[in-house]
Amino acid sequence: MSAGENMTMTTVPSQKERRSGGGIADLLKRLLRMRETGLILIILALFVAMSFASPYFLTWVNMRAMAMAFAVEGIVVVGMTILLISGGIDLSVGSVTALAMVIAGLLFLNGVDPWTASAVAIAACAAIGATMGFFVTRVGLHHFIVSLAVMVIARGLCLLGTGGRPLGLYTLPPEFKFIGQGSIGVIPVVIIIFVAVVVAFDFMLRRTTVFRKVFYTGSNEKAAAYSGIRTKKVVFLTTTLCSALCGVAGVIFMARFGSAQPTFGIGMELNVIAAAVIGGASLSGGSGTIFGAILGTVLLSVVSSSLALLDVSVYWQDIIRGSILLAAVTIDHYLNKRRG
């Protein structure tokens, strides 16, 4: 019995500590232990505090702007979380997202209809992910290095394709722009897409056998291989999926801005990884939830928006964001120790 051992408690979503006896008190206790509950409480506290501090905060316009701000990036967070769970990481998400915009934009300017152009861009991003997956699983390099290289290469391609200037896509047909700018009823389409992606992947990650293999692989790759799971294939696919979702995000951004910006998404990887980690994903793999990661995204976004409303300098915003990340990870570290 060595108490010094640092054990990490994972939320395998499909096994939520079931059958430990019923009772509302028990349920409450379990809820309180969950990472998500803590995040929700913090976000609610921020909401309450901000609604007193700024009359603009709790307005429909501000809420809508905030949701729009994190919705598209949230799609990338989904991909990143799944990749982190499988034990990988991707630093290239920002530049791959930008590359999707540039590819779709260039094709459109050369007469391809925007839907086909988008499909090609998403496929190209998936191919980039597959290439990274190849270097990681077949060549045996580390995700960090491979994606760092691809981050730089993809950014270079963006600048090369556009000459460094944003592409104005003024002739985008309205039905395409509708994806990024339209609303159904009062709800922006962007948010509908975002919610659909999140709900779908959250469900799959919790319930399907395919995604369970992602958890096994990330938790202990060797044990997964010794359970007959083709771990390289799993890692290859999660790497590809993450880049493909960057492609989707890039296309939606293009529809929203009506332009393709080669310098878009610089520093995005840090935001995305931070959100996933604040939401409970572990950098060593094997744990994390989509729901948690999205709450992490929301938290970061609420903080940014609050700071802006309070007229805090943008320079401070980075410092505060970084500190939140550090605090979240530290708290988590101690909570895990105590549980162990």
Binding site: M1, S2, A3, G4, E5, M7, T8, M9, T10, V12, S14, Q15, K16, E17, R18, R19, S20, R207, T208, T209, V210, R212, K213, F215, Y216, S219, N220, K222, A223, A224, A225, Y226, S227, G228, I229, R230, G286, S287, G340
Partner: protein
Amino acid sequence: MSEGVENDLILKITKLTKSFGSIRALREIDFELRRGEIHALAGENGAGKSTLMNIIDGILSPDSGEIRLDGKPVSMTSPAMAQKLGIGFVHQEIALCPDITVAENIFMAATSTSGTLLMDFRALERRAAEILHRLGDIDPAAPVRTLSISQQQLVEIAKALTLDCRVLILDEPTAALTEREAQILFDIMRNLAKQGISIIYISHRMVEIFENCDRVTVLRDGQYITTMNVAETTPGEVVSAMVGRVIDSLYPEKQSENERSEEIILDVRNPTERTRFSDVSFELRKGEILGLAGLIGAGRSEIVKGICRLEGEVTGDVTLFGRKLALRRYSDSIAEGIVYLSEDRKQDGLFLDMSIAANVSALNVRQVASKAGLIDDGREAELAERLGSRLNLKCGHVGQPVSALSGGNQQKVAIAKMLSVNPKVIFLDEPTRGVDVGAKAEIHRILRDLARNGVGIIIISSELPELIGVCDRVLVVREGCIAGEVAGDEMTERNIMYLASVAEVRKEAS
């Protein structure tokens, strides 16, 4: 107690108590260590041995109680302080830096206390060689990565010896050693004891305790039970003290004469892997437990992993119940009902941070899922509960992470994982390593039951008494080939060791 006896004690512990949260890990433990004695500490996993040793080494601090070293009360606050006071601790898990040399590893602890700024690598290697000379043939300039596990273990011991220690704690040092290496270690231990060093020796193996130790102290459930002179007690008495009940027989009954069957479950013909083994043909009959013996590095695990297609490019035929199998990867083996229990459950057997239920279903998650591939939590929990109760698994609930379980119960989860796919043949690699006496007996009983019910059981073990006690027939592997087979009365440690090592003996003679 007279003055003379008091002076004779290097370490005296009285009424030591330690709790972790609500769990009382140690309750008023007393322990006395004499100068120059080898003192065995016995107890099941969770009995408190490690906690006690961690307190002596300053890793943990006690809630109450007293530790006297050389008659003076001390309070150890860190391993570094324990080292200064002359306490060396060789942990069960090897904790060396793989990329630096043996010499540097050995003096790692010593450098932090030497007070010099620059490293003198030559001197380091020379001094390392002096120490290693006593322990066996290890090159001090070799990176640790290139050594075998047993050599690494010896490096760990060398590391403790550099510190001029007066008390040396060895936590299951033979778990990864071959019989011969273990004997070398015992010689070293006796030598050190003669030089006045006191040794606390933790082991599950009664034979080792009875052959090498002077006294034995037994802990159970965090309490001190008894201290006995080894010469005046029996293994049976020690085991009874450990488990708190009399164990009539350590091993289950073997296959009886009329249970014997000629029906062949598994027939392996000429499996060959370029560099590791060749032509290792054997067959497994219904109802029997087959053992694979051999020295570490002889290729036992490699053969078994090869047959299961876990690693290597293997040729040769595998026939299961008369049907030749086309196996390409391990998932094919699992689908055919051939499974492998790995020798290191923490490294590659279990998902420690995941739930018991998720571990049990890992070999085939599909069986607890709907046709569409959706996992049914209820069915998954039910599977784990059913197999858990069959194996007498002790846990709160199947949603608990496996890391919360004791070694024996973790191993039961690993076995439950194998059973989840209703296997026809199970290869078990060191199935009871690091498992306490009680759980060990249970695992053996389970394996016998499985064999009786027609499941093919093949066990790899480095512990000869286990192979002899459990198996009906033992194949001995030497240098990637089957050197021979023993069964019935021929199954003795001597015969097996002879077959396992005769080639080496010849080499030495020529």
